[in-house]
Symmetry: C3
Subunit: 326 residues, 3 copies
Amino acid sequence: MKKKTPKVADLPLAGDQCPSKDPSLATDFRSRLPEVVGQMVATCNARTCFEHIGAEPLPSRSQAIAILKTCRELIFPGYFGTQGIDWVNLEYRIGLELSGLFNCLAEEIANAIRHECTRHGHICQHCEEAGQEKAFLFLERLPHLRALLASDVQAAYQGDPAAAGFDEIIFSYPGLHAITIYRIAHELYRLEVPILPRIMTEHAHSITGIDIHPGARIGKRFFIDHGTGVVIGQTAMIGKGVKLYQGVTLGALAFKRDEAGELERHTKRHPTLEDDVTVYAGSTILGGETVIGARSVIGGNIWLTHSVPPDTKVVLNPPELVYKKS
Amino acid sequence: MKKKTPKVADLPLAGDQCPSKDPSLATDFRSRLPEVVGQMVATCNARTCFEHIGAEPLPSRSQAIAILKTCRELIFPGYFGTQGIDWVNLEYRIGLELSGLFNCLAEEIANAIRHECTRHGHICQHCEEAGQEKAFLFLERLPHLRALLASDVQAAYQGDPAAAGFDEIIFSYPGLHAITIYRIAHELYRLEVPILPRIMTEHAHSITGIDIHPGARIGKRFFIDHGTGVVIGQTAMIGKGVKLYQGVTLGALAFKRDEAGELERHTKRHPTLEDDVTVYAGSTILGGETVIGARSVIGGNIWLTHSVPPDTKVVLNPPELVYKKS
Amino acid sequence: MKKKTPKVADLPLAGDQCPSKDPSLATDFRSRLPEVVGQMVATCNARTCFEHIGAEPLPSRSQAIAILKTCRELIFPGYFGTQGIDWVNLEYRIGLELSGLFNCLAEEIANAIRHECTRHGHICQHCEEAGQEKAFLFLERLPHLRALLASDVQAAYQGDPAAAGFDEIIFSYPGLHAITIYRIAHELYRLEVPILPRIMTEHAHSITGIDIHPGARIGKRFFIDHGTGVVIGQTAMIGKGVKLYQGVTLGALAFKRDEAGELERHTKRHPTLEDDVTVYAGSTILGGETVIGARSVIGGNIWLTHSVPPDTKVVLNPPELVYKKS
């Protein structure tokens, strides 16, 4: 094919961080890059491209993670932040962190609301103000979150014989980490902050393998052991003192569609677990009308799509195993 | 034991980033470090050590992640990169990113090929050139990848009642993230680029819990919900419009060994799922000759090692549960 | 409500990294932040707060990760560290890395011991010294760890037909990564280093989905394929040549409580797997007295709470499936 004259676009640029060892080799293919650029630009408008060009900024994932980090430090003072916090500098530290958090959070909430407004064609007049207000309402809930999470730490200690102490739980248990992030995200969800809560819980999902939708409602003294593979759906309701093991799903049974064939998105689709229920590893409980009664124990590997009365132990009638001499 | 005179190697060095508070204390043990260094050097040659000394550089994991990041920004313009992309600067942005990506990718592909050549004792003459060519062929596929992934986003929206909108899916769904990385890695796998595609999918595995081998073949409109624990093997074939839930394995049944007792590494070992199949949470489908017919639905927690005809719903005959009053 | 005069605390501070676009808007809510600060300080002393104020520094998670990184580079020289290691500079590199590692590790171990001492009200006199000693004893075990891990790499190659070569396994297999971190953490656990080993294995859990307690005892030639969802408890004992697939749990059956109703924390609660046992995906084996005999094979999705003799294949009597034409 005809060799093109190199264009300005082919000259080395600030964005080119890995120059190949022998630039002369590159000329042939590099000179054809504008063809690809042209196609990538042309298809941005197509139905087969999701783009976010010229739109209001989305909430920043890295800011969301920074917000979670600061909240965790405020809730468990001295564990995660800069070392050297003591009773003398405590107020100054908390004051500085909290005022920084307020600004960050107000801005990210405003971004989230503004983004939502413009996506739906609304005129956005109060985004900044709403960001400030919701950020403040969130901060006011921090003492409540601290007490809730303290109950979760105690539940972990009481539920796990391998726990060497509270510090180990706070410092290294993924279940507590996921619950902490969920509880923060749930407060923002209750304040009707869009998109940001889900970014937070998906961050928790990524680092712990525990997927709790920010819309779920979960009582105090909640403990998840090991946790990888746990899924808790948007409309699940969980009482106090509940204990889940790895691989437990609280999910939807089947999706209803409305007359137009579209999914119904606002019905209760996930189960209810009353107080002090325990669910062992790998069990799946499905359906918005499924209620597991208080103090019931669901054994491992069970698939449940109906309710269970209180104080009931449900175990699998052990399936027949086949033993072969090999 | 006899105390040794401190050697030059024991003096503080640039690599020593954590000096202990009282260096005098350290002398005793520090002075014995050369013994350990000697053993570590001596055993580098042993059969009990895998080393990569004096070898050609391996592809860089951090560059692989940077490549994925840039591809994602190019495929979904405006979502993940620097804020402030609009229709005026779009071409410049895409041009800059794409030319940077070309250089990086060409270099990493060349590294991967050169590494493979030298490991197998081949003389490596065309690595640089092959790197350029394969990088260009990959970039030419980007518009196709964009269209494929747009179909995956739509499938997620149609499959999940909790999805608040397309932006939330693109921005925070781990299933889409894993599929995006798989689709990029699969293109490189088709171009016979060694090692790099697997580094990419294992990165996805690490952040999403979804393990898709880059060799698997997967049609458009693919949706994985929640996803943690999903495993899709190297020779799996998946049609269009397939939907998988968390914990689904498409795996190998048993490994055949050749006459020398070595594993056969190039046979079809993983199942085929025809168009519009759904597999619910925790099910395992095994074997290279297993075919799940079009539009079939496999319930949760099922272990399947044989084929299923089209339009079939397979559910577990509910195992007997035992209820005990506690 | 009455508007407060802005205080010094409301002026922009170094910690305030996201100034909102229009600072005047913020005044109202910002001026009320001291109320929240006051509550957060006041509740630090409460029973509903876990705090770590004025305490000895905890081991640093980022230092723990840096220690793991250096150990991995020393064990597999040339794979993960700076490029360009060859037989000439090998000794210098290893010497530099090892002496840096010694200082870091001694300091973090000292921190861990000191923290433990003060938490239990002991007077801590020998923390620094113990840190040095245990760090040295650990380093002396590195050649042994290298040989152990080389046997694990070979087991992975022999167990996985998709493995393209040893380099791919070392460079990208999450199972090997988790085992590497576990073996390092286990050495520190044997040296009775508190908290640090668990931080390490929970880091592995986060990036691989594989949760191995540092207290577990695991023989050579250990292979975990795919791995997401694997849980291996504190008192599990695993022989040589064992192979596990994703989602396998080696867990506790039920927790015994002592006369005071407290959990018994020091009994053997997790199973024993003798040499050359294989456990397929999704199976759960529970109980401290459960022993799986040598060379036995446990099929997928099995729930076992009792022992199995050697040379036995245990499979599920396939549950009845229901096929419906849809």
